[in-house]
Symmetry: C2
């Protein structure tokens, strides 16, 4: 898992399992599985409510009523990605944790088919998908804050280190290079970005005085 | 100007001026001005070849022949953004230069109307626009390398500091937060990201041994 993107295995056909919650939850599972499959095969422009309903074996009216449009479907795929128990890696050091995290992000952003980057691209097409992508990133970064609190407890960080700013600095180069600049993946980048952030953090670059003066 | 995005003033109606190059260059200027105006007003989905031709006062056939489709038009807007004499700020210190650069990026990415971010979004819709956006970023980052060589000459950096990696690290948090995470602009972010990158650079985080061993 990555801190900011849906689980890559969500892109594969799901194991046939019953989820708790009865019929409503079952329909959601069927529909979201169909959305993932249709979206992976046809992209945003080829995603239609009718094809999703047909593939899911669910009434069109149900799909329209509950999800409204394809943006609503993709938004729910993103929201569903938070329904897991993902936790960031625990390697015993800040730099190690950040590097392992970045390896997961790089793997997700370079996976084939490019499900995660396609969802990010779709977030530029639909307000609903954009807000869901924001919620998912917020969830992932919030879960990752434990990486920083563990490092603080081990004495690796100066007091009042701001976890979120550190995590953004550590992970931003991956997203910038792979999603926006679209440079070929650099196998050293995950470790490099982790090392730079850990080094800057140890030097006090992310400290936030409790009475928050200006920086 | 920013290191990576078209000149904000390109979004305004251009001064009426003759550019060198005769009729072909004049037509390009008229058409690209029309593309910027139409794109700003109607977005990617509302951009049409016919409206651009009409607004530019140029034959439809000419527009289709030379630019093929709306992706081709946007790609040329991005390519044209490199036809300037933009240089990165020269403040006398690495951290100052990076902070000034980041201020320009933040200003471009938060400008209203959001022309630059709309172009980045459009690069997820059209391969041609994506490649042109890549070329523009490549141009901007290449021009910014002088910031690092000046700092090296002033003795601010260890030998063999990799300029590109330093510049990406310094600017990535701006793009990640403003384009992908879509967080509200943080007025401290440009300076923070510059300080962190300068600090990491001084500590040797971007050094690249000339016989490039593994990192």
């Amino acid at each position: 898992m990555t801190p900011a993107v849906p689980e890559p295995e969500d892109t594969r056909p799901p194991p046939t399992r019953r989820r708790p919650g009865g019929r409503t939850a079952r329909i959601r599972t069927q529909v979201l599985d169909a959305v993932r499959a249709e979206f992976s095969e046809h992209g945003y422009d080829g995603l239609t409510m009718d094809a999703v309903a047909a593939r899911a074996g669910v009434h069109r009216a149900t799909v329209y009523r509950r999800w409204e449009d394809t943006g609503g479907l993709l938004a729910d795929v993103l929201d569903a990605a938070s329904d897991d128990d993902w936790q960031p890696p625990d390697t015993g050091s800040l730099e190690g944790d950040l590097a392992a995290l970045n390896q997961e992000i790089q793997a997700a952003l370079t996976a084939q088919p490019p499900f995660v980057t396609a969802l990010i691209a779709a977030s530029f097409r639909s307000e609903k998908a954009a807000h869901a992508q924001q919620r998912l990133w917020e969830d992932r970064y919030a879960r990752c804050e434990i990486v920083v609190s563990r490092a603080a407890r081990r004495g690796e960080l100066p007091p009042y280190t701001d976890a979120r700013r550190l995590l953004i600095a550590a992970t931003a180069p991956l997203y910038h290079q792979l999603v926006l600049l679209r440079t070929p993946p650099d196998p050293r980048l995950p470790d490099d970005a982790a090392r730079i952030a850990a080094l800057a953090a140890a030097a006090g670059a992310f400290t936030e005085p409790p009475s928050a003066g200006d920086a």
